[in-house]
């Protein structure tokens, strides 16, 4: 972090101890006049009132680990500026993002979508994945047999979000960013999302769950 955060003015050791408590700290470029985002580690948080441009800038900084020139980023206690490529890749593996539409691939069914990242990053875990996915879906109140064979075109908006979320949970990330959690959902779907954070907390105690919302904060 380079600008207005309190840690920026302190010595490296105290900066490090302050950053250690930060899950996501984003300082937009100074000329934007935007508020910084400073989220402590652990629990569920909501960042509301984000414009599309600001959300895109934040997501690009966090997911590509490339903040805009003049912007600063602290992620899971680490200042991005000081990291080499391998450290960045390792840090990125600890962060997951759930897009508003679930981020599913349209030519894969729900099961194939859910285990796709696992097949790439930890293929040895695929063998036990079926039981894990079933258990997670049941915990989130869904019927695994009804959902897993469906293609995205046959899923409801909630089911797409659910499949995307289970995909994230399988990787047990330390920081989860969720875009517009309740957006586009009916009443049943919105009620279903209430179980998202408790399931994450049970699976990843100490993890941070951040909702990014376009609407003003409540």
């Amino acid at each position: 972090m380079t600008h207005a955060d309190p840690a920026a003015r302190s010595d490296p050791a105290s900066r490090q101890s302050i950053y250690a408590q930060v899950a996501l700290g984003y300082e937009p470029p100074a000329d934007r006049g935007e508020d910084r985002i400073w989220i402590p580690t652990g629990g569920s948080h909501r960042v509301a009132g984000l414009s599309d441009a600001r959300k895109a800038s934040l997501l690009s900084a966090v997911l590509d680990l490339k903040p805009e020139p003049g912007a600063g980023l602290v992620l899971l206690g680490l200042e991005i500026d000081g990291l080499d490529a391998a450290e960045r890749a390792a840090l990125r593996a600890r962060v997951a993002f759930l897009p508003a539409g679930g981020g599913l691939l349209s030519n894969l069914n729900a099961w194939e979508n859910i285990v796709l990242p696992l097949g790439f990053h930890t293929p040895e875990r695929l063998r036990g994945a079926a039981g894990e996915v079933d258990a997670l879906l049941k915990e989130l109140g869904a019927d695994p047999h009804g959902l897993l064979a469906k293609l995205p075109e046959r899923m409801s908006a909630y089911e797409k979000k659910l499949a995307g979320y289970v995909r994230i949970l399988l990787e047990s990330p330390e920081l989860v960013l969720v875009e517009d959690l309740r957006g586009g959902l009916d009443a049943a779907g919105r009620a279903g999302t209430a179980g998202f954070f408790p399931t994450y907390q049970a699976r990843c105690p100490g993890g941070t769950f951040v909702q990014l919302e376009a609407s003003p904060g409540v």
């Binding site: 897009p99 981020g103 030519n107 285990v115 796709l116 097949g119 293929p123 695929l126």
Partner: protein, 258 residues
């Protein structure tokens, strides 16, 4: 001109990535994508090849024997030259461009426009690993397999149908075939068709991943660019191959000086 250079450079980079990352084929999702590609390009395209191939072989033998009043040895020799060396790989390549090339370019362009490619990146999956590597390998293997089908069906079916329809003995045609056929012809056509497959898949993947816009109109444009350029490159490769291996191109109009 700059655009052409960029596309060429982009295709070369994509090709380099495929060669460097062949090991991802061992990952389960990529293996599955490879199997799907081989099934779609190589297996489900075979039905249409049988009749076309057999009629092509018959036409060549009948034309040579009946119209040119040649003997069966010359008919078989022409069949070998034309079908094994040239028409087999070209026919397979054209079929692959028609069916799979358009499908690949369209599918990838749609994935790019709808954000699915970005979604892969957000899952820390390199889209080239998951989308391009299995397609290039699958299309290359399938093109070689289709070429083999065309050759077998056109030569075998052609000799069989010729024996039934014109005054040519199947035994004589078969004897001439085994005397004249050379393994070089098969190896040459297999290598050529593998290269055709690689070229088609790389070009179609490149245009699919780089549609000329972000609206749905960019999808058919990507497919047209992919088909046009891959057809052109296949023809060019065919000429270069003929010149390098047999010292002749454009049906003998260009001849290598030894």
């Amino acid at each position: 001109m700059i655009g052409v250079y960029r596309e060429f450079e982009g295709c070369m980079r994509l090709m380099g990535h495929v060669l460097r990352r062949l090991r991802v084929l061992a990952l389960p999702p990529v293996t599955e994508a490879l199997a799907r590609q081989i099934y779609f390009t190589g297996a489900s395209a075979t039905a249409g090849m049988v009749l076309r191939g057999a009629f092509l072989g018959t036409l060549i033998i009948a034309y040579v024997i009946d119209v040119l009043e040649a003997n069966s040895a010359l008919a078989v020799r022409i069949l070998l030259w034309v079908v094994l060396r040239e028409i087999g790989p070209l026919m397979a390549a054209v079929l692959v461009i028609q069916r799979s090339g358009t499908a690949i370019a369209t599918e990838l362009a749609l994935m790019q426009i709808s954000g699915e490619v970005a979604s892969l990146r957000r899952m820390r999956i390199d889209p080239r690993d998951y989308l391009v590597v299995p397609r290039v390998v699958g299309v290359a293997l399938s093109t070689a397999a289709l070429t083999f089908y065309v050759q077998v069906i056109a030569v075998g079916g052609g000799m069989l149908l010729s024996a039934l329809t014109i005054d040519a003995s199947l035994g004589q045609l078969a004897d001439d075939f085994f005397v004249l056929a050379s393994p070089v012809d098969f190896v040459y056509s297999m290598i050529k068709s593998l290269l055709f497959g690689v070229a088609i898949a790389v070009i179609c993947c490149y245009h699919g991943l780089h549609p000329p816009g972000v609206s749905i109109n960019a999808v058919p444009k990507a497919a047209i660019n992919a088909v046009t350029q891959s057809t052109l490159l296949v023809m060019l490769l065919n000429v270069v191959f003929a010149y390098l291996v047999f010292g002749q191109a454009f049906f003998g109009l260009v001849t290598a000086k030894v």
